[in-house]
Symmetry: C2
Subunit: 361 residues, 2 copies
């Protein structure tokens, strides 16, 4: 049997609960597809601060380095919110993981499943039949990581400085990811920038245009980020794939995710060159419902499916997991966050949702 | 009679048509309130490119310098879209105007009038009773104007660079504007930043906290920009005033405006220290409907009302114009963009809308 090494980082809040269900699904995949997932657990986020003194301990980095992929839960919670920003679970774990492993391509699908259109704050007529937008976000460059960055000077003379910087190879590689994703979907790509104000955006637009020549089957357009923030609200179905630099992708992917109304359903992938990647739910650690066994494990399970697809090339297995999730939704099974009380719906807990997906696999 | 000098810059697209109606309203205000508005017209945007060779000719700048306020229509259109970004009507006129006149405080209300909730793409239950959010955007600093900015190097080695920079006085003065606006409203201020990633945001948060001590009656909270993009969609009524740096304000004010569903209703003000300001509709030049006499002049008229309030301290006159607009809406009068075909609604054109507002004054 093919064997893959997975670094399992459950993290804080609902992370451990939903991770348990995702691992059950991987167990089922092992049996059905004659593959093996060797799992090594490691601490990350708040629990790592508590147990090992920092959000991303070296032991965790080493475990990830020995793996083929990282399956990540979620991090953060009120307990660690008063730490300096650099040391907090989210920032202190996610940014170094992205940098150390070169996770430059962040794929964030925002999908409304037809069964769940009611959860969106958008009108029925705007989203009838659901929508399916993929945000491809550059994740290791731009204003997140460029120098100079810091607070210069003393006292009243202090000045805050951040730098947004992009090189041509950085733009090219993320553009290729976006065009290739569009080729597998509806072949429409909207590149987001602010080329009327930013020099990085002028270069971005030029390079995206030149990469486009290699993908004549994909229809490319450009849109300013402020207009995109409006168009997502007005008519999300106009989009197939959105290509964004790091900061714009942060903002627009969250906006698009919230438009679906079911954050607990949305996975994400952060890919390095080659096959290594990190996979995590788009939602947060939801400390308010942690430990109650009622969180929705679907985002974590679909993150595992993305891992099967992107890091392990187990497309058939990934399809099977995704199909099992859809079946369970069609059966009317709902965790509390997606329960609307419609006829045919049944409210179930985290474990029951995991079991149902396994049963449908 | 008190006399005020207004530089009138109608611009492109629907700009001239809606400006005509706003000027009629100013005529009516002159009579009713015994004031005088001395108007000087100047070219801006595409028409200025065509007639005088650039989007913001020196003659226009000089006319604005001689005035107490600028009433601005809108600029841009397909004819000028292939020019280099720097020379295009929007960028080539707006950014220099902001810089030359020190228009550091941009007020962008996003209001759903109860009569118009149907126009929003948000569900009735999310916006019932309307909502009223004011975005206060820093407009002359940050990544729009800081150096270094440009494309460095040659050929494949080129690197795009933009710089986001904020000093303490820049943050303080915009924070004061936002706190004072909140004091006149529901006394709640949400300061937007990305303090988990940006150094400018760390300084921003610290300074906003310290300014807050002078406004103990205003309830302040902080929110990351990505979360704010989500929360606006989920439950816009949670917000009263949003305080944003330049780029975040660009994105969030447009998102909030689109959530109202009636861009043709929304005015904006860009204020300098002292009483000078520029006033313009939030929507664009709408070239698709320009010249047909069907555009909604309300955003332009409400922009004139903001001018009365902020630059001329004619609060009574401003209130009267705003009340007249509300009355006309209550009477069911609608331009095409806000016409929903409900009982009691009557579709009217640009001129008729201007006349109706004058008649109600
Ligand atoms: C926690 C934060 C640093 C992070 C980001 O801004 O990238 C988060 O918002 C995300 O989108 O994954
Ligand atoms: C045209 C552009 C430069 C401008 C901006 O980004 O500020 C516009 O989007 C706005 O919000 O007024």
């Amino acid at each position: 049997a093919q064997k893959f090494k997975v670094a399992v980082l459950p993290g804080d809040g609902i992370g451990p609960e939903v991770m348990t269900e995702a691992l059950k699904v991987l167990d089922a995949v092992e049996k059905k597809f004659a593959v093996a997932f060797e799992r090594t657990f490691a601490n990350v986020g708040g629990i790592a601060i508590d147990k090992e003194g920092k959000a991303l301990p070296q032991t965790t980095v080493d475990i990830c380095k020995g793996a083929d992929a990282i399956l990540f839960g979620s991090v953060g919670g009120p307990k660690w919110e008063s730490l300096p920003p650099d040391e907090q679970p989210e920032r202190g774990a996610l940014l170094p993981l992205r940098k150390i492993f070169g996770l430059y391509a962040n794929l964030r699908p925002a999908i409304i499943f037809p069964a769940l259109t009611g959860a969106s704050s958008l009108k029925e007529e705007v989203i009838s039949g659901g929508f399916n937008v993929l945000v491809v976000r550059e994740l290791t460059g731009g204003i997140y990581f460029s120098q100079p960055k810091g607070i210069e000077g003393q006292g009243r003379e202090r000045i805050g400085v951040d730098t947004m910087r992009y090189s041509i190879p950085e733009i090219e590689r993320i553009a290729h990811v976006a065009f290739q994703a569009a080729q597998r979907r509806d072949k429409r790509l909207t590149s987001i920038d602010k080329a009327n104000v930013l020099s990085t955006s002028v270069l971005w637009r030029e390079i995206v245009e030149s990469v486009a020549k290699q993908y004549p089957d994909v229809k490319l357009n450009h849109m300013y980020v402020d207009n995109a923030a409006m168009q997502l609200v007005r008519w999300p179905k106009q989009f197939d794939v959105l290509l964004c630099e790091n900061m714009f992708g942060d903002i627009l992917s969250d906006e698009a995710a919230m438009l679906t109304g079911s954050l607990g359903m949305l996975p994400s992938a952060s890919l390095a060159e080659g096959s290594f990647g990190m996979y995590e739910p788009s939602g947060g650690s939801a400390p308010d419902i942690a430990g109650q066994g009622i969180a929705n494990p679907i985002a974590q399970i679909l993150s595992a499916a993305m891992m099967l697809r992107y890091s392990f090339a187990l497309n058939e297995a990934a399809d099977a997991v995704e199909a099992a999730v859809e079946k369970v939704l069609d059966q009317g099974l709902r965790t509390a966050d997606i329960f609307q009380g419609k006829p045919g719906e049944k409210k179930i807990n985290t474990r029951e949702m995991g079991d149902a997906i396994v049963a449908n696999l």
